[in-house]
Amino acid sequence: MLSHSEASEKFISDAERTDWHDETLWFVRAKRDKASKVLPEWEAMREHASQIKDHTLANLGEYLQAFEAKAIANGIKVHWAADAAEHNAIVHSIIAAQGSKTIVKSKSMLTEECHLNDYLASKGIDVVDTDLGERIVQFRNEAPSHIVLPAIHLKKEDVGETFHQHLGTPKGNKDPQFLTEAARQHLRGHFLASEVAITGVNFAVAETGEFVVCTNEGNADMGAHLAKVHIACTGIEKIIPKRADLAVFLRLLARSATGQLITTYSSHFHKPREGQEMHIVLLDNGRTRQLADPKYKNSLKCIRCAACFNTCPVYRRSGGHSYHQPVAGPIGSILAPNIDKKANADLPFASTLCGSCSNVCPVKINIHEQLWFWRQDLMEAGLAPAGKTIGMKLMAFTLANPAIYRIGGSLLRRFSALLNTSLNPWYKQREMPEAPKESFQEWYKKR
């Protein structure tokens, strides 16, 4: 697996595509700016949302139990999964009981986190992703590169080629409307045939036992309304106390995500219709560990709007796959090390700590500060790349001793031309600063 910096270098080697990727996502960020700035109460609403989430996380156990009781009373079957394996086994057992071999699934980053598709495929069950972007990357055997816009790394030409290969559209056709229609007809067959539909969950309401799924394509509804069995998969952090809280979160979510006033479909699933089975699987998978750490607890407030992706100057130029995780971007970089420190030790360093992410975040997660904390924790866990620890200790020693610092500085200036080599990553595309004859302190002494 390539590290973030290696994968980024590869992505950037196509400068034109990188510029296009950057500009496309900046356009989304600009739409978000416009949609947020017409609301005088925007900053107050962020604070309100943050406080609701703080309160919920502080009382998560109670709210989860309240949700469970209400959901059961509504006729929903509630399942608890400690980790990804348990989650996948539960979903499989429900599908197996139904006897289905083909199922439809709307967008759910949680099922990506659990690698549910691969697991079910190994059991002979074919999952059709029905979100257009997800279906495109599924055809290409790729992971989503963005949690809201899964195929944002692809141009319409790429989609045309993919559809030509998988759906038989005419070669060279890249007309978005034509391609979307082709996907629509293709998916319609699956919606009609499928007896089980899996959806994600945006919000689970403790007060009522209902859950809310937001899409722009209506694909979650198509799946859930036609299938005999609806399985909703959610992280335990998606709980909100009251239905009224949706008035805050639904407004923040769509404006932050795409600059829309609200998602096209914000569907409330309250109870199964007659003859339907409705299940909800509540997953921990490291979330309670994160909850127990005051430094990182805040990350569980995330409503998966991806505003931090769109604003991140690194993400826009490195592409989502450079993060080698289902959830990329700044938020992914603070979530992933909790699951696997070693595999994700590069991610908290894939940031300049510019702080833009924390300031677009609709629930005020201190993302850049958590990146900083993860850097400390990962280095303390001994996960520094070769040579870094000794280099840092040497630097720390030098900078703690003024006399050694002066000698070091003087040598560095005198021999700075030696750094003009291909071994110096700075010098690859930048000149070194010109070394002055005197340091400031040397000048000052003679003043």
């Binding site: 947020s36 005088p40 900053e43 130029r317 940031s351 924390s358 677009v360 400390q376 720390a396 000052y444």
Partner: protein
């Protein structure tokens, strides 16, 4: 007013003119400026690389040099932010100022004997802007303000322009500039492109580290655009 001048290590070694301008400017404005001569570094290079656990010696040296002062002033938003957020001494944390905020908030200057008849592009350095709140940010729904622009507006003859994305990061990011070299350089190139569109002669900012990064790219491109720290302009007669 007695002020201790904090000169970040890389400014001391590679950009002494920024420290000279800071010293002269503060003196010009009536401050008694002391330069502690045993100072080295704020500790940020280690801390932001995940080695905050190794900065004790650096922190102790900083405290030794600066704890006797009520005003510690430095020409670097990033280093000052690091001290404010992470230095173990409460006295240090509450006494340290980035030089622009010191001029606007403490000295509250309303005029300057400065002249700089050139076209300059303003670079907002993230740590100064978002961390120290030297200016409003495009992410938030807030009333626009800018301490940097307030100061530059006191300079005679200056023409200030802003890049299209007024507060996007330049990609320096400390050790990020070498560990994530490709992204870092691309970010810098993109900033420069926007300043070039405004036909600026200088890129000006309050953090020499960002300027050093952009200068390295400009010089590699063979550009005639130069970089200047804001104090060099405020001190320019």
């Amino acid at each position: 007013m007695r002020v201790a001048l904090f000169v970040p290590c890389y400014i001391d070694q590679f950009y002494p003119q920024v420290a000279v301008a800071s010293l002269e400017l503060l003196e010009k404005l009536g401050c008694e400026v002391v330069v502690p001569t045993e100072q080295t570094c704020c500790g940020q290079p280690m801390a932001n690389s995940g080695f905050a656990s190794s900065t004790a010696g650096c922190d102790a040296n900083f405290t030794q040099n600066f704890e006797g002062f009520d005003y510690i002033v430095g020409p670097s938003g990033s280093c000052v932010l690091h001290l404010k957020e992470h230095h173990p001494s409460e006295k240090i944390r509450s006494s340290v100022y980035e030089i622009c905020e010191f001029l606007t908030d403490v000295l509250k200057i309303s005029s300057l004997p400065a002249k700089f008849p050139h076209r300059v592009g303003l670079h907002q350095s993230c740590h100064g802007q978002r961390g120290l709140r030297l200016s409003s940010m495009s992410e938030r729904n807030e009333k626009p303000f800018s301490k940097l622009e307030d100061l530059l507006s006191l300079v005679d003859g200056i023409q200030i322009s802003k890049p299209e994305r007024a507060d996007e990061c330049c990609g320096f990011g400390g050790t990020f500039c070498v560990t994530e070299e490709a992204v870092s350089v691309k970010m810098g190139q993109d900033r420069i492109k926007e300043h070039d569109a405004n036909a600026v002669e200088y890129i000006v900012g309050a953090d020499t580290s960002c300027l050093m990064h952009m200068e390295g790219i400009l010089r590699r491109q063979g550009s005639t655009v130069q970089v200047k720290h804001i104090v060099e302009i405020l001190n320019h007669a």
